[in-house]
């Protein structure tokens, strides 16, 4: 099985580029190759004009990597001490390190925790520390691998905003972001590549990708019962794709279906009624990046996650 297959992308300087795909799509593999942690079995990759396999040290001088759900550093050391340690791995002088640590702890609201041991920080503040660590060397290219994984809404928003601001300030940095959060990619990225099973399916700006779906109709339907069977839609003509979210708490299933025209939806309604399912609500929806994915592979991210865990 290939983790990546014929992947070809080019990212411009100053661009925030998103790799969007379900778990196991190959996003992390790609980022690990580009950050010199993995060697590609074939093909070539260049970061900052340097070959990742042949010139890894030159690549490392211009990059940084921040992964979500990770807490690099030493729990017994304080925030400031950890940042000082990492600054030395990037070769910063004492005065430069002090200056950068002061700036980053202030910018990321870590100031009051500067002398707190890392082990005593909450998950959100640990990730802020991780971000500060990733920006210490002022990288030209920043790799963010699921950077807001497991974070609360406010912390995620703060970090996303900070990165966009960091990248766009004087066209400072190039960002390659991997995520499976649609809203994150939509909000942050200039361009997005959707990746599935190691292949890039499509690559464009979020706006353009969503615009391409305008000829389709997207309808959200909430039906009673968590055990609703939507298998009939796989063979129903005019259905581009669909995703479903089941809620055990409310015993309902929310179906998001993309159809070529609204007449197809009446066929779906009758099929649901045949199953004695009650339609609790229905509404048209604006296209999202998930709909782009659905239109390409016929299923949503949730289904992939279910398949992966099965």
């Amino acid at each position: 099985m290939k983790a990546l297959d014929q992947v070809s992308i080019s990212i411009e300087q100053g661009e925030i580029f998103g790799l969007l795909g379900p778990n196991g799509a190959g996003k992390t593999t790609l980022i690990k190759i580009l950050s010199t942690l993995l060697l590609p079995t074939s093909g070539e990759a260049y970061v900052g004009n340097f070959n990742v396999a042949k010139e890894p040290n030159k690549v490392r001088r211009v990059i940084s990597l921040v992964s979500g759900g990770e807490t690099p550093g030493y729990g017994i050391l304080s925030v400031r001490e950890n940042l000082w340690f990492f600054s030395q791995l990037y070769g910063l002088s004492s005065s430069k390190a002090k200056e950068e640590i002061a700036r980053l702890t202030k910018d990321l609201d870590l100031g009051e925790y500067a002398n707190t041991r890392m082990s005593k920080l909450s998950t959100g503040y640990k990730q802020r520390l991780n971000f500060a660590r990733g920006l210490l060397n002022n990288p030209k290219i920043l790799f963010l691998d699921e950077p807001t994984l497991g974070l609360d809404v406010l912390t995620s928003k703060k970090l996303r905003g900070y990165i966009v601001d960091w990248a766009k300030r004087e066209m400072k940095g190039t960002v390659l972001l991997t995520t499976h959060y649609m809203a994150e990619a939509d909000e942050m990225c200039d361009r997005v590549a959707i990746i599935d099973r190691g292949k890039i399916l499509v690559c464009d700006s979020p706006l353009k990708l969503k615009e391409d779906l305008k000829e389709n109709v997207i309808i959200k339907v909430e039906v009673s019962s968590v055990q609703a069977d939507f298998g009939f839609m796989d063979t129903l003509e005019g259905v581009v794709g669909y995703s479903q979210t089941r809620s055990i708490q409310t015993d309902t299933t929310t179906l998001k279906v993309m159809v070529r025209d609204e007449t197809v939806f009446s066929k779906i309604t009758s099929k649901l009624q045949e199953q004695k399912l009650k339609i609790l609500s229905e509404s048209k929806a604006e296209p999202t990046l998930e709909d782009v994915y659905i239109s390409l592979v016929g299923r949503g991210f949730e289904e992939d996650a279910g398949a992966a865990s099965a």
């Binding site: 942690l37 490392r60 070769g91």
Partner: protein, 269 residues
């Protein structure tokens, strides 16, 4: 070139600093690491006293207990360290920064030496005071040289092990365990190695600690000098000459293999 050297030295110093700071921040840890070895060597000394062994045996045990602290540090804080760094996500960060991995190992080694010297000195002083063991040091410089070479050879071995353990998962823990007690025994940590059969002594000669222990005991407890321990000094030098480049080679090889097989940052194996 000069810039890269300074960069690597900064990294090594930072890793040393982390180890010293981290290792001494929690007093409970510090005390446990000093008291437990004292209890072990006390047991041996009382046993030798009961058996009416020569008084020098108590000195041998104290030197053995002191040097074993370094071996424990080499095993758990050097050899298996990259395994822990991998589990915490630090290894990934080390490998995306433009530093020599040897700088990290050097920092870990120097930090470990500083920490262990503090603990070993406490063990030695306590042992000497409690059991009234006289030290007979006629050649302090030779004693220092012997100590320096022993420590360098031990940590060079630690660097080699750290490289080999780079891709290991849980096996690192078991392998470190596997090396602990046999080395205590073979190096003659708590008894003179001359008591061992010749074939066992031959196997023991593959361990730098064996020569270091023998040499330090001869100089510090028996009052001997350079002319008596030069073979130990030569053996330790040979170990260093072989082990350091081997560690560098192994580290490069394992890193490359890990990157090919995707195991460099693979956790919870």
């Amino acid at each position: 070139m000069r810039e890269q050297l300074i960069h690597n030295l900064r990294a090594a110093y930072a890793r040393l600093w982390v180890r010293v700071k981290g290792g001494n921040r929690e007093p409970q840890w510090l005390i446990a690491e000093m008291i437990i070895p004292i209890l072990t060597l006390s047991a041996y000394i009382y046993m030798y006293k009961t058996l009416e062994a020569p008084p020098a045996f108590a000195g041998f045990v104290i030197i053995g207990g002191t040097m074993i602290a370094f071996w424990a540090n080499v095993l758990w804080n050097m050899s298996a360290q990259f395994y822990w760094e991998k589990e915490t996500g630090n290894l990934e960060i080390y490998f995306v920064t433009p530093i020599s991995r040897m700088a990290i190992l050097l920092g870990m080694a120097l930090g470990g030496i500083v920490n262990t010297i503090l603990r070993a000195a406490a063990i030695m002083v306590a042992g000497i005071l409690v059991f009234q063991v006289p030290l007979v040091i006629n050649e302090p410089f030779t004693a220092l040289l012997m100590f320096f070479l022993t420590i360098t050879a031990l940590y060079a071995l630690g660097m080699l092990f750290a490289s080999l353990f780079l891709m290991y998962g849980r096996e690192a823990w078991h392998t470190a365990n596997l090396f602990q007690e046999p080395v205590h025994f073979l190096s003659g940590a708590y008894f003179p190695k001359s008591l061992l059969p010749d074939t066992v002594q031959l196997v023991a000669s593959l361990i730098p600690l064996t020569f270091g222990l023998d040499g330090i005991r001869q100089i510090v407890i028996l009052g001997k000098g350079f002319s008596d321990v030069w073979i130990d000094l030569v053996a330790l030098t040979v170990f260093i000459i072989i082990l350091l480049p081997l560690a560098k080679f192994a580290l490069d090889y394992m890193e490359n293999l890990g990157k090919k097989e995707g195991r460099l940052t693979l956790r919870w194996q």
